[in-house]
Symmetry: C2
Subunit: 420 residues, 2 copies
C-alpha cells in the first residue's frame, strides 16, 4: 500500500513550527507496518495545495491530509479538496450543531467565518472530531482514499486513534498486504562513530527478513535490528540470535537498549547494586544532576550534590584546597579529583562524579583550549579515576559531551570495564 | 523564485525523527524573504528519491536536498543525483584528504565504506564541510539549481551559513526578486496563554505592511511583529511604534526579546546590577543551574548551589532543620524558604532561588498531589518570598514548568514587580 502524508500550513513552510504532525502519523503508520513513501508540506495556497493533492492521489493508495481545516479564510482544505473532487463544500449538520451548543456553553459568539470549519465535501464520509469543531472526512480521488484531518495536534491525534486506525487497518487488509510479526530491538551506543560501528557490523549474518539500521542522535548512535516474519516465535528467535552477535561486536559501547537514556542506564546499575551517587559539577552547572533525576524514582540512588561554578564554591562545598586551585587551575586533574572525593565524603554516597572544564566561548588558553574537560569518578573501592577530554565545538556541544562522558565513565567504573 | 526542500531519510518516513532540518532551512530562507513552496520528505530508496528530485527540479528554481550523504550503503544521494544528472560519482580529493588527516589524528581506521561520504557528482561545485566529512555540492538540473547537504544538523547548518546564504542571495538577485526591508521583533511571553494574549492585542493598530504572528513554544508564547517596507527607516519606525503598543498591552508578561531565554533574562538583570545568585534544587535536580549556565559568561553572576535531592542533603547543604522536614514534609513552604535562605547565606550570593516539589509519577498524596511545587526566592533586601504551584501533566512537564516559574519568580523579584 502506497501512503503519502500531506501537511498544510504557511507556518510549516516558513519554518516557524516543526512538522511534528507528520512525524507522529508516520510513526503510527510504521507501527501498523505501513510505510510512508512521501511526507509533503505546502503552504495555505490553492495552486500549491491543488498540485500536491493531485500528485499524491495519482501515486498513492492512501493520502492523509493534515491542516487547513480551521475557521479563517486562509484555511482552504475543504475548498481545494471539494474542487479537485468535483464536489460542493457544504455544512456538516451534526458538527455544526455540536459546535453551536459548545460555543453557547462557553459564551463565545458565533461571528465571522467561524462556521467555515464545520464544512465538508458533499457526500464524503465524515469522522467526528472528539475534541474540537472541525470534522475529519474521507473522499475517493483517482482511486486513492483521501482523508483530511485538522492541524491542531490534539485534534489530529484524537481523530486518528478514535476513527482512522481501524479504517486504515481495513484498507491495508483490502490491499492484500500481509501483516507480518515484527520483532525489534534498539541498541544505544556511546563513544563510537557511525562508520566505526558499521565496520564492526561487517559480515553480520542477518538472515531473511531481518534488517539493520543506524541513527545518529548526537552524541549517541542507535543501532536497530528489525526482524519480520509471519511467525512471531521465529521472528523473536531470529532477533535474539542477531542481537547476541551485535552485542558481542559492540562490546562495552552499548550502554542500553530501546528507550533507556545514559543517565537511566547508570541509575539502573546503581539500583541493582543498592548503591548511591553524588555529583560535583562546574562547567555543566547542574545538567548531570538534571539528567540523573529525569527518571522517576531516581531518589533511590541519587542523593544530590554540589554545583561549584565559582572557585570559592569548589573549596566550600568539596573542600578543594585554595592552594591546589591556585597552583593547578580549576580545570585540572588535581581539582577534579578533589571535587569527586570531597563530595563523595560529604554526601556519604557510594559513588561520586565530578566535572570541571572550559565550555567556552571564552576562558580558553594555549595549554587549556576551549573544549578541555576533566572528569573524575570516586568509587566505593576508595579509588578515584580521572580523564581529560578535549572536544571541538560550541558551548552547548561541549557541555552535552561532558555530561555524557561523565555518566559513561561512572557506568564503566561500575561494571569494571576500565578505570574510566 | 520557487524553492523546494527535499529531506531524505527512512527515519523521517518512519516518524523516528522530526524534520527539524526542513524547518531550520525554511526559517533561514524566510528570513531572506524567500518562500518555500514545498518541503518533501522521502525514504532512502532510489525510485522515491529519483521521482522526488525530478519533480522538484521541474517545478523549482532552487532545490535544497538534505540527507543521504553519510558513509553507509543506504546513503544514496550522491548516486541518485549523479545518475539523474548523467554524471559520474567521484571522490572529492580535498575532502578525502581532510578526512584522512582527521581520522588519523583521532586514531579512527579508514575501513569499510567510509570513503563513500566524500564523493560528489563529477564537475559539480563543491562547498566544503567545515565541521564534518561529507562535502556539499551543487549541480544544475532542468534549469534548477540543486544543492545537496549532509543530514546531521550541525553539518547542515554550518555549510548553510558558511557557503549557501551568500550563494542563495546571489540566485535571488539573479531572479530579479525585489527585496523589501524587513524589520521584526519577537516578544517572549511567559505566564499567559495564546488566547489571552490574542485578546490583549485586539484593536492594535498595525498599519500597512505590518503583521502579527503567535507561536507557542511551550511553556512560552512568542509574539512576532513583522514590518515590510521598501524604506528601511520607515519599516523600523513602524516596528518601534507597534512594539511600544505591544509592550504596554502585555506589560510584565514579556520577559525578553528575540533569542533571549528566561535564564538569560535573569542573568542579564543580575549582570546589570552587579549581583549574584545561588540555587537550591530538589525536584529539578540541577536543571535550573544547568539553564543559568547555558549562557556564556554566566560565571559573572552564578556562583553555584546545592542539589538536595535527599532530605539529608537539604539539612546538610542548606541547614533545613530535621524537625521542620519531619513536621511539614520536604514539599512545603517552610522547607523551601529554609532552602533559599540557607543556600544564600552559605554561598554568600545576592539572591537565591529554591525549588521543592513532586514531579511524579509517584510520591503524590491527597493534599500534595503530583505537580505540587513550592518555589522560594531570597533577596538582598532580606526578604524571602514563596509560592505554591500546582500543574497537571507528566514528570518532564512539571520539571520544565518548575524551572521556568522559578526563574520567572527571580526575574519579577529583581524588577520588583511583585513579591513572586
Amino acid at each position: 500500500m502506497h501512503v503519502e502524508l500531506l501537511t498544510i500550513g504557511d507556518e510549516l513552510c516558513r519554518g516557524e513550527i516543526v512538522n511534528t504532525n507528520g512525524a507522529w502519523m508516520a510513526a503510527k503508520l510504521w507501527d501498523m507496518q505501513i510505510s510512508v513513501d512521501h511526507i509533503v508540506t505546502c503552504g495555505d495556497l490553492e495552486p500549491e495545495m491543488t498540485a500536491a493533492l493531485r500528485n499524491a492521489a495519482k501515486r498513492s493508495d492512501l493520502v492523509l491530509v493534515c491542516g487547513g481545516l480551521g475557521p479563517t479564510v486562509d484555511d482552504l482544505t475543504v475548498d481545494v479538496v471539494s474542487k479537485v473532487a468535483g464536489l460542493r463544500a457544504v455544512e456538516h449538520k451534526p458538527s455544526a450543531k455540536r459546535m453551536k451548543v459548545r460555543f453557547t456553553e462557553l459564551g463565545i459568539p458565533l461571528i465571522g467565518d467561524v462556521m467555515r470549519q464545520v464544512r465538508h465535501p458533499e457526500g464524503s464520509t465524515v469522522y467526528e472530531n472528539p475534541v474540537g469543531a472541525a470534522p475529519s472526512f474521507e473522499i475517493c480521488l483517482d482511486n486513492a482514499v483521501v482523508i483530511c484531518l485538522p492541524g491542531p495536534p490534539r485534534e489530529m491525534k484524537s481523530i486518528f486513534t478514535t476513527h482512522l486506525e481501524a479504517r486504515i487497518a481495513q484498507l491495508r487488509a483490502a490491499s492484500g498486504q500481509e501483516v507480518e510479526c515484527v520483532a525489534k530491538k534498539i541498541f544505544r551506543v556511546f563513544g563510537k562513530g557511525e562508520s566505526v560501528i558499521a565496520a564492526a557490523m561487517e559480515g553480520l549474518q542477518l538472515g531473511q527478513g531481518a534488517s539493520l539500521h543506524y541513527q545518529v542522535v548526537f552524541p549517541e548512535v542507535l543501532v536497530k535490528v528489525v526482524v519480520r516474519d509471519k511467525d512471531e516465535y521465529l521472528a523473536r528467535d531470529q532477533l535474539d540470535r542477531v542481537s547476541k552477535d551485535v552485542r558481542i561486536r559492540l562490546d562495552g559501547a552499548i550502554y542500553g537498549e530501546d528507550d533507556t537514556s545514559m543517565a537511566q542506564a547508570v541509575g539502573d546499575l546503581l539500583r541493582q547494586r543498592g548503591e548511591t551517587i553524588a555529583t560535583a559539577e562546574s562547567c555543566t552547572g547542574g545538567m548531570i544532576g538534571g539528567k540523573l533525576t529525569d527518571a522517576p524514582g531516581s531518589s533511590e540512588y541519587y542523593l544530590g550534590g554540589a554545583v561549584t561554578y565559582s572557585n570559592a564554591e569548589k573549596t566550600r562545598q568539596c573542600g578543594v584546597e585554595e592552594l591546589v586551585l591556585e597552583t593547578h587551575g580549576a580545570v585540572s586533574q588535581e581539582v577534579v579529583i578533589a571535587m569527586a572525593e570531597g563530595i563523595r565524603e560529604r554526601v556519604g554516597s557510594s559513588w561520586a562524579v565530578s566535572v570541571s572544564g572550559i565550555a567556552g566561548p571564552g576562558g580558553g588558553s594555549d595549554d587549556r583550549p576551549v573544549g578541555t574537560v576533566w572528569v573524575a569518578v570516586a568509587g566505593p573501592d576508595g579509588k578515584t579515576t580521572s580523564k581529560k577530554y578535549s572536544w571541538p565545538g560550541d558551548r552547548d556541544r561541549v557541555r552535552l559531551l561532558a555530561c555524557n562522558w561523565a555518566l559513561n565513565a561512572v557506568r564503566r567504573r561500575i561494571i569494571e570495564e576500565e578505570t574510566i
